[in-house]
Symmetry: C2
Amino acid sequence: MLTAWGVPGIGEVRPGDDLAALLGDALAADALARPATVLADGDVLVVTSKVVSKAEGRVVHAADREAAITAETVRVVATREHPGGVTRIVENRLGLVMAAAGVDASNTDEGTVLLLPEDPDATARALRAALTARFGVRVGVLVSDTAGRPWRQGQTDIAIGAAGVRVLDDLRGTTDTHGRPLQVSMAALADEIAAAAELVKGKATGLPVAVVRGMGHAVTPEDGAGARVLVRTGPDDMFAEGTAEAYARGWKDAADAGA
Amino acid sequence: MLTAWGVPGIGEVRPGDDLAALLGDALAADALARPATVLADGDVLVVTSKVVSKAEGRVVHAADREAAITAETVRVVATREHPGGVTRIVENRLGLVMAAAGVDASNTDEGTVLLLPEDPDATARALRAALTARFGVRVGVLVSDTAGRPWRQGQTDIAIGAAGVRVLDDLRGTTDTHGRPLQVSMAALADEIAAAAELVKGKATGLPVAVVRGMGHAVTPEDGAGARVLVRTGPDDMFAEGTAEAYARGWKDAADAGA
């Protein structure tokens, strides 16, 4: 059985705050108010990237939003103009392909925007170490962010940082209930845990952290490779460039080649 | 608080089976064994598309797998050759963009493959009506399937059918905790519920149905538009064609035009 709940009491996070301490305090207070929530072995904490960014001071002036997106952009994947402006789907430093490079103007002070955390895997490891030291339990930590995806409306949460969590469940080579080998089957567990956590965190409620219990089989003694292994760009990426962009490039190359 | 659990006791599903009856029987038995699981208002049942396909008899011979994929293909998005064969990412009848059009060779009898259900939204509505009639509770029903996605390793579950569930949480126009308007924010609730359910269903365990409790605010009195509204293809789709395919088409068009 899976259970998940949002952790109340974290409050506004400011640059320089000790996020592990804030998180630990909130968990401790929650455990008093709701004893069933006391942190246990096998729990996974899912921390919204926003509060990590705020604690890290990854804040820039809103007037610089477009410049911030450009600075965070490693590679432009696709752009689309529309009445509201220009949508840029780009690959950022973390290998994530997202609109606006993940730069975020919600839930931050007027006049500011947030960049994604510097190194969410490292943050996950640090949070994990601090919580383990404080509470003496073996937990996993994910850092989550919201992203759109091709061919589907709406956004879902994904894991952009991870420590102590088996992020991919590689079922290749195992058999199904008929004894037949499973084909392409690599469940992105960390993304599914992040999605489940979003159902109890939520953008309008302001709860930035959730605990997901029942995934103890995905919690590992070591920190592991982190969420970076969930990135799939490079030669394996069939959608490295948007359709319109690739078409235009093909046209141009042919024209230049006098084809 | 969110809770989710797999429903045991459904067993092998055969063409012509009354899935609603099988599901109802399993839920009733589970309620006796685990009284806390008795179905309640606001619960969401997540049914793996596989068992819907089996009950519908959407089974073809394995030797015809490639022909089945072709038949289910409305539009080819991208293809990639590799040592194991050819991967085809295509749009199928349901508007879903998936590898192999969603044709599935796991968890089905040797020598057979499964096609996706005929109309998963209709199935969700029928299951919902049957469960409401049998148990007298207001539940939502999702039909789930597993899909890969660009730029991320591994697969997650998504909702391909829905009834009585608000599939998208449209937060545009609402404000965040700072009173600022939320920007692009449309949470794909149904996909996140499907992902959460997959954590307690799972490909190797064989449990084809899960109950997700705690999303009562997303369960609606009416059936609603279903999961079809989660499809985003057409003019709004910046990735309607894979990069290599679009490039080749641009080249060809330029060459044909004598550019």
